[in-house]
Amino acid sequence: MNTKYKIVKAEHLNSDTFMLTVESEIISKRARSGQIVNIKCGDEGGVLLRRPISICSVDRDKGTFDIVIQIRGKGTKILSKYKAGDEIDIMGPLGQGFSLYPKHKKIIAVGGGIGIFPLLQLLKDHPAENKKVILGFRNKSCVILEEEFKQACNKLFISTDDGSYCDKGLVTDILRKELDKEPADMLFFCGPLAMMKVGVEIAKEYNIPCEVSMEQRMGCGIGACLVCVCKTKNTDDWEYTQVCKKGPVFSGDKIIFD
């Protein structure tokens, strides 16, 4: 199976975040929002594992998709050196994406940090009439993709940890305020575990279904090695479930945050 694709654009969004646009008829056709791709970094310094990255945006006509990557360690550092024209080795799309139910007329997507990326295509694809999105960033210089999100939703809220841009404070506080103003049919969360945990609690409180996108270090990326698990409920017990295959998107009430 071919896993080699061409990068048609490589662009830095800020000092430590960059976007790659990759040409792939097959991935862009199949990709559902919330799904991931698993990228080979090259084996500089003996880096073996692929890195899981969310599909941020898809252009199904052009047959391309965008991923946005924040430099964290060795692997993402290597990926940041890719240039337009380079070949990149990508497995995907993998895993389960967000649920797009027509009955959900009003949705709110909440994202923080690198968790904002998969929400862009979610907003583009979701059939809801009213789409709000709440994005949290560390500070002003971290704010990216603002225009793209604005275009993809009805209302965009931004908060920064230090208040250096827009609101100061937690995305979940903004969510609460919005829900107090106007109910929603579905909530989506993607970001730090602590944020998603509070998010799921709020959803429960307001009795709204929700989905969360989980993160976990991965091995195979396709469900075969059982290293990428998170704790989930089953009928009368709990189990460890593969984030790569059964997730990364899970129903909020499935996850055991402990």
């Binding site: 199976m1 896993t3 080979k40 084996d43 310094g45 003996g46 880096v47 073996l48 594992l49 692929r50 060795k74 692997g75 497995m91 976990q216 270090r217 991965m218 091995g219 195979c220 990326g221 396709i222 469900g223 075969a224 090695c225 059982l226 290293v227 990428c228 698990v229 998170c230 709990w238 189990e239 460890y240 295959k245």
Partner: protein, 305 residues
């Protein structure tokens, strides 16, 4: 490629169409990789480690990357041997590839019962895992002494009606003694190496990276150690040896064959390259063509010292 090239190997009566086997724990029950290539290409598939009852496994994170290697601490998460027999064997039998059931237990009695159950199931061989470093009971504690290995293997032997492969741990002073104990107790073959116990620390959080603190090292980093052990064990026992540990491509696989392995298993390499198994088979065939070798058995133990 040429039809004259014979890739078949025989492991104690278990005939494999080629010497490349998917290593246990890295290949699930084959379903996921069946989207990437035809599983019938493989000599065999060693399925995820099975236990009598389902096991939840260890808390995440379960993987850490290390230079040219990975640490894992899965801890034998599996649906239990009965679910395997019901749901997975029928799927795997859809392919023409040997099914090797990898079996673990907490006690000798559990090992006995596993071998009995699997002897009555439609699998081609049983690989007794006496070497998982990620579970507290059983396994490694039996596997790390010659006496322990002898006890377990001699006790399960009578229940086994198919080739019994004993998987050895590298975390021992002298692996040849352990291999000899397995042979003496009636093992038909030994497979090695399982992972080497290791650890990773995140200096930012000052915590271990793995939820289980320690894990098992695999991947190219361990290849020199695995190769040395396969070489030593092949000289020490008469039963066939299955070699593994860091094999990523045909060159690596041929090194293990030359060192004395009758077949090889590949695990970690598949994470980076889902075609690693198939490319290794093709590569061995190409090497044989280039070097006018008709049967892969000519390579086994062919090291010139």
């Amino acid at each position: 490629m040429s039809n004259n090239i014979d890739l078949k190997v025989n492991i104690a009566g278990l005939e494999l169409k080629n010497p490349v086997i998917a290593a246990s724990g890295c290949f699930g029950f084959g379903r996921e990789y069946s989207r990437y290539f035809d599983l019938s290409r493989l000599g065999g598939i060693a399925v995820k480690g099975l236990t009598p009852l389902p096991r939840k496994g260890n808390p995440p994170p379960r993987i850490a990357e290390t230079p040219s290697g990975i640490l894992n601490s899965v801890g034998l998460q599996n649906p239990g041997v009965h679910a395997f027999i019901e749901k997975e064997i029928p799927f795997l039998r859809g392919f023409n590839s040997a099914i090797i059931a990898n079996a673990s237990g907490n006690t000798i009695e559990e090992y006995e019962s596993m071998v009995e159950i699997l002897s009555n199931a439609d699998v081609d061989a049983i690989e007794l895992n006496l070497s998982c470093p990620n579970v507290k009971e059983g396994c490694l504690s039996f596997g790390s002494s010659a006496g322990g290995v002898y006890d377990v293997v001699s006790r399960v032997r009578k229940y086994a009606n198919k080739p019994l492969i004993v998987k050895l741990t590298p975390n021992v002073t002298d692996i040849t003694e352990i291999a000899k104990a397995a042979e003496d107790a009636g093992a038909d073959s030994v497979s090695l190496i399982n992972t080497i116990r290791g650890m990773a620390i995140d200096v930012k959080s000052r915590r271990p990276v793995l939820g289980n603190i320690t894990g098992g090292l695999s991947g190219p980093a361990v290849k020199p150690v695995a190769l040395r052990m396969v070489y030593e064990v092949s000289k020490a026992v008469k039963i066939p040896v299955i070699g593994m540990g860091g094999i990523s491509n045909c060159t690596d696989a041929i090194e293990f064959l030359l060192a004395g392995a009758s077949a090889v298993m590949i695990g970690t390499a598949g994470f980076e390259n889902p075609m690693a198994w198939v490319e290794t088979i093709d590569g061995i065939e190409a090497y044989m063509t280039a070097n006018s070798i008709d049967s892969v058995t000519e390579l086994i133990g062919g090291l010139i010292v």
